[in-house]
């Protein structure tokens, strides 16, 4: 099996897994969910690092990679922090009066 074939299998299985997991998320948490998956998809930072840190990088590719690292880092940092900030607000009855 070529590596692309494996990749397509991985994609298909991950997508199905995603469908099953997300269907179970309560609509109560749809906003934090979106903000969390957003932070997760900032995994693009991996590609950005590989390009920015490469040995034989031209000015152009280095600049593009650098911008991409900045943008992904914004998403990683603010994504996780905001998700947590939102989730902290969800309290059950009785729990809020301390």
């Amino acid at each position: 099996m070529s590596s692309y074939e494996v990749a397509i299998w991985v994609f298909m299985l991950a997508a199905f897994l995603g469908f099953e997991l997300i269907r179970r998320v309560s609509p109560l948490l749809h906003t934090p969910l979106m903000s969390l998956t957003n932070a997760i998809s900032a995994i693009a930072v991996v590609g950005a690092i590989l390009i920015t840190g490469a040995k034989e990088a031209s000015m152009l590719t280095r600049a593009l990679g650098f911008t991409a690292v900045v943008l992904s880092t914004i998403n990683v940092v603010s994504g996780y922090l905001i998700t947590d900030r939102m989730l902290k607000m969800f309290k059950k009855r009785g729990a809020e009066k301390k």
Binding site: S35, G53, A54, G79
Partner: protein
């Protein structure tokens, strides 16, 4: 040795992301989900920095620093009411990052075959999601008009641009050396993103934001194919399927298809000519409203986008508190498309310290309305419009909250203007309906004042 550890770290990172989403299913485990997600991201970044291909660090570290310096203040100082805008903005950042990485990889390698196909998909989705998200951001921030902007032949023009972008993409896949085609490809993709959002109105934003979320994820997944990186594929696929499911849920909650949301330019057909006869309505003051609420046993509050605009959520919590204290059962009925993004109302009410077990989904609350004394509607319109049950209505078949089944219906509203769908709401003219005219926040706060006075007197 250290350099070959990254596949293991990537594997753990992928598992962490899956667990993170699994734990999001319930509010009791959700925060754990965030922590495991952070760990996953940390493993992925550390693993990547250790790779043999990464030799120069200074620019990466500077970029980390700048990104954090922007991201941390956004996270801490952004008001919760700006969550939809922030979400659109982060879709834009993520998509642009993916597109730029694709462009860099293209200029670096000039790859052929499968890699080039993946890069073209990545960049097409990345560029169009970037401009589309910026447009969505502008509409949510109200720097751009929320009304749909349409022109003749719009769908033909849009489709033409998309087809042209794809055609040039295919030409680039066949011979990547034709670098002069690349900027044209980028510009067309960017332009398509703008045109895609122009005809979409404010109330369709929940679907559109979910869909853009999906595109941003798929773009990251395509990057995984280009870099032969399974972690990127998995994380992108999770994000892609998440956004897609949310978009499907939103469409279902409006009984509309994807294509209708994206190409229908809903809300442009104004029925201003149709409705001419003045129908009688009953209005009431805050004092009267407070009296009715005080004699109720079961009250259901239905918030909509108007509550978010008026920032009435904190006052509503006060109303919830005082009514609960007086032995009245209060719950909030949440329609899936209330607000500007999936779950919007829940976050605002949670911020105002309304306990989350009082926020009830549509399917669970609807059987309750027949036993409800007062349904209090705040800034919601189409989601309670009984016209949805008629065949020839523009919102026909849309699942609604059955507020009309309650003993008394109270509607806080600025005036009699129709809702987003541009149709009149029969609910307002029912005998049991009281219209409470005024700003949502001010009105709720006067009701609370009246109730406090009653409480003090008794």
């Amino acid at each position: 040795m250290m350099q070959s550890i990254f596949p293991v770290l990537y594997l753990f990172a992928a598992a962490s992301f899956i667990l993170a989403i699994k734990w999001m299913s319930s509010p009791t485990t959700a925060r754990r989900g965030v922590i495991i997600g952070e760990i996953g991201m940390l493993l992925a970044v550390v693993g990547t920095l250790l790779r043999a291909e990464v030799v120069s660090y200074q620019w990466i570290l500077i970029a980390f620093f700048i990104g954090s310096a922007i991201g941390v203040p956004i996270a801490y100082y952004m008001p919760m009411t700006a969550v939809p805008q922030r979400t659109a903005f982060s879709h834009a950042c993520g998509a642009l990052a993916a597109a730029l990485i694709g462009a860099a990889e293209y200029y670096r390698q000039m790859p052929h075959g499968v890699v080039m196909i993946a890069l073209i998909v990545e960049m097409l989705l990345g560029f169009l999601t970037f401009t589309a998200s910026m447009m969505a951001f502008g509409k949510l921030q109200e720097t751009l008009p929320q009304r749909p902007i349409t022109f003749r032949g719009q769908n033909v023009v849009n489709l033409g641009i998309l087809i042209l972008a794809i055609a040039i993409g295919i030409a680039l896949i066949i011979s990547p050396e034709r670098t002069w085609l690349f900027p044209i490809f980028a510009v067309l993709s960017l332009a398509f993103g703008v045109l895609l959002i122009i005809p979409i109105g404010g109330a369709d934003m929940p679907t559109v934001i979910a869909l853009l979320n999906s595109y941003a994820g798929l773009s990251a997944s395509a990057m995984g194919f280009a870099f032969d990186n399974k972690l990127l594929i998995v994380a992108g696929a999770l994000d892609g399927s998440s956004g897609f499911i949310l978009a499907v849920i939103m469409c279902r909650a409006m009984n509309r298809s994807f294509s209708n949301v994206m190409f229908g330019a809903f809300g442009t057909i104004q029925t201003s000519t149709k409705q001419t006869t003045e129908r009688p309505i009953r209005s009431a003051t805050a004092e009267e409203a407070a009296e009715i609420l005080d004699s109720a046993r079961k009250v259901v509050i239905i918030p909509g986008y108007g509550m978010a605009v008026a920032q009435a959520q904190h006052k509503l919590r006060e109303l919830h508190d005082i009514l609960t204290k007086r032995g009245i059962e209060v719950s909030f009925a949440i329609h899936p498309v209330a607000g500007r993004m999936p779950g919007h109302m829940n976050v605002l009410l949670a911020e105002a310290d309304v306990p989350y077990d009082r926020l009830i989904e549509m399917d669970d609350i609807n059987p309750e309305f027949a036993r409800t004394d007062v349904a209090l509607i705040i800034g919601a319109n189409d989601v309670v419009n009984p016209a949805a049950r008629e065949k020839d209505s523009p919102i026909a078949g849309m699942p609604i909250l059955n507020a009309f089944e309650a003993q008394t219906v109270m509607v806080i509203k600025r005036g009699m203007s129709p809702g987003f769908a541009g149709i009149d709401n029969d609910l307002y003219y029912m005998d049991k309906t009281l219209m409470l005219f005024g700003d949502a926040k001010t009105f709720v706060s006067s009701i609370v004042k009246e109730l406090n006075a009653v409480a003090a007197a008794s």
